[in-house]
């Protein structure tokens, strides 16, 4: 899988590359408009991370050109601008997702996996890990083909972990993903601990071969036993 990161800030580009490299993707980067448009038209990418503000042009221009040539790529816009207008404009021009800076690496990771999975659907829309299967469409989780009952938030947490297999998910990233932006003030996300505890119990009761490991004071990691 090839991913192109179009981002003018080299440090951000570097940290994103490093994070995605852990997922065994092949990463290429472009730091300005010209390099980006050249790469986009010469090569094929499975996913493009696109910054809106670029030296020499805008990400919107690249979207426009991509649309004209009819090239098929999954595009995630990463922008510092959190404006609904830009979001709608980007999505209407064929972008698949829109992520506002600053974001968590886990969130970016989940989004990349999500758009890639959507593309290579091949009739199945499930995430699998160990003996656990999560059906995204039907919102069902089964272990050894036996369905287990999860509430909406437990399902969202598990889905997020499955999109970040073996990666650290900070509590903040998890809270923002599952509970939304509105919960941001609550500096203390200790309440998540209880949610994880419940989820862990349900997984254990059903003899799941995966487990949620706590990383001291920071977050969690989904691991295969």
């Amino acid at each position: 899988m090839k991913i192109l990161i179009i981002e003018d800030e080299p440090e951000l580009s570097k940290v994103i590359s490093e994070s995605l490299a852990k997922e065994h993707f092949i990463i290429e980067t472009a730091v300005d408009y010209n390099t980006a448009s050249e790469k986009v038209f010469v090569y094929d990418y499975d996913c493009i991370l696109l910054d809106i503000m670029l030296p020499g042009g805008t990400g919107i221009d690249i979207l426009n050109e991509l649309k004209k040539t009819g090239k098929d790529a999954n595009i995630i816009i990463i922008s510092a601008k959190d404006s609904l207008e830009d979001k709608l404009k980007g999505l209407s021009l064929g972008a698949d997702d829109y992520l506002t800076k600053p974001f968590h690496l886990a969130e970016l990771n989940a989004r990349v996996h999500a758009v890639l999975r959507r593309k290579k659907l091949e009739g199945k829309n499930t995430l699998e890990y160990g003996n656990l299967t999560l059906d995204i469409e039907r919102r069902q989780v089964s272990i050894n083909d036996k369905t287990i009952n999860l509430n909406r938030k437990e399902f969202d947490i598990l889905e997020y972990f499955l999109l970040n297999k073996s990666r650290l998910v900070t509590r903040t990233a998890l809270a923002e993903h599952v509970w939304g932006d509105n919960i941001d003030q609550a500096d203390n996300f200790d309440f998540i601990y209880y949610q994880i505890k419940n989820l862990r119990k349900k997984l254990q009761e059903s003899d799941a071969t995966i487990t949620i490991e706590a990383i001291y004071g920071v977050g969690y990691k989904l691991k295969e036993q």
């Binding site: 609904l84 941001d184 003030q185 200790d190 309440f191 209880y194 001291y216």
Partner: protein, 425 residues
């Protein structure tokens, strides 16, 4: 007071003073003119009478004015030479047509002397004079009428002229009142040939252009500031997140990194809130449509469910009716979630949140500190109680700003041990 009325006030006072002074002077001029003309008449009479005497060649002595307007008395030559023609004002008992009995009436009297056939005579001729108080009275009324007619004329002209001349001015004011820096795409413009109004219009346009430019720059500044701040924040957080994945870290090191991430995230939250605040104030969210507040509250409560459970806070909703408000939906969400977060966040363990929805108001009541907050300052940005360092102190400022945008009335009170935030739509 309208310009029209103010001008009128000054003009009417000035006219009154001018007319009064003029009336005073005019009275004496007229009086002198009258006397001059009577005196000429008396002089004519004198010559006429003497001529008649000469024709009849005989003089009847007449000592009283009973049935005529002159007296003739013989005098000595000596006294005749000492008499010069003199005109005097005097009073004489007379009975006019409108008098019931004789009254003293003012008369003008000519005293003269003449010589006929060697004898000397003294003659006095009278002519009735205008009564001064009658003159004053008549003139007073004439001037009152003149004044009233003048004022009426001035009002009329003023009204007409002012309305016509000041029309461009009033139009400019009207356009300025309707001007909105966000919505208007053209500056106020009126057609006028009056230099002052042209100057005013130019000044206004220059000022507005400057304002619009500043406004545009400010918006750009905010957008740029966001970009400039968000990216370094993203880099810092993401680098630390990567670092955390390093298996070789000790627990202590992990803890330090986690603390640093939390601190940066707080910074990021403040930055986001400030951006949100400026966006609200710049009306960048303004997609108004009817929004059902009840639904938004239910969704919000669900979002905060686990947080509330963790804080051991119970939320109860009493809805007497469906509350529909015309506003931007994302702002409605921000409004509700800020109220709810505030009510949970500042609550006590085992406390409660009562949400009351009425057809035109919404109130959140919660337990918390057992004393009232400063109701003047509670909505100020960065107002927070010292014990709670983790809050940004911007939640209620954002709430206030949303309410201000839509002219909703939001207030805080402390009632029956509960902190009450109420919005009237």
């Amino acid at each position: 007071m309208k310009l029209l009325n103010q001008t009128l006030r000054y003009i009417s006072i000035a006219t009154l003073i001018i007319i009064s002074i003029w009336a005073f002077i005019f009275y004496f001029i007229i009086l002198r003119e009258i006397k001059n003309s009577i005196d000429e008449g008396l002089d004519n009479y004198k010559r006429q009478i003497i001529y008649n005497f000469q024709k009849k060649s005989g003089i009847e002595t007449k000592t009283s004015f009973d049935e005529g307007f002159y007296t003739v008395e013989p005098i000595s030559k000596h006294s005749a030479f000492s008499i010069r023609d003199t005109y005097t004002d005097t009073l004489l008992m007379m009975q006019d047509a409108d008098d019931t009995s004789p009254e003293p009436e003012p008369v003008r009297m000519l005293t003269t002397s003449f010589e006929m056939d060697g004898s000397y005579y003294q003659m006095r001729i009278i002519n009735s004079m205008v009564e001064e108080d009658d003159l004053v009275k008549a003139m007073f009324w004439y001037f009152v009428w003149l004044y009233l007619i003048l004022i009426a004329g001035i009002i009329f002209t003023n009204n007409y002229a002012l309305q016509r001349l000041w029309r461009p001015f009033y139009r400019l004011i009207q356009q300025l009142t309707n001007y909105n820096i966000l919505k208007s795409d053209s500056f106020p413009e009126v057609k006028t040939r009056t230099t002052e109004f042209r100057d005013l219009q130019n000044a206004v346009r220059t000022l507005l252009a400057h304002n619009a430019e500043t406004f545009e720059k400010q918006k750009q500044f905010i957008s740029h500031a966001s970009h400039e701040l968000q990216t370094p924040l993203a880099i810092a957080i993401n680098k630390l997140e990567l670092l955390l994945e390093d298996e070789n870290l000790s627990n202590k090191q992990t803890g330090h990194i986690a603390d640093t991430i939390r601190t940066i995230e707080r910074l990021s939250t403040v930055n986001k809130s400030l951006l949100l605040l400026s966006k609200i104030e710049n009306k960048q969210f303004f997609d108004n449509r009817p929004v059902c507040i009840n639904d938004i509250i239910l969704q919000s409560v669900e979002e905060f469910e686990e947080f509330a459970a963790y804080k051991n806070v119970k939320i109860s909703i009493v809805a007497s009716d469906k509350l529909m408000v015309v506003m931007d939906e994302s702002l409605a969400r921000i409004l509700v979630s800020n109220l709810l977060r505030n009510a949970i966040f500042h609550n006590i363990a085992g406390g409660k949140v009562f949400i009351e929805i009425k057809p035109d108001s919404l109130s959140f009541k919660n337990n918390g500190l057992r004393q009232a907050l400063d109701s003047q300052r509670v909505f100020e940005a960065f107002y927070k109680d010292a014990a709670n360092t983790s809050s940004t102190g911007l939640g209620l400022a954002i709430l206030k700003s949303v309410c201000h945008l839509y002219r909703f009335n939001v207030n805080y009170r402390f009632e029956e041990e509960l902190h009450v935030f109420e919005i009237n739509f």
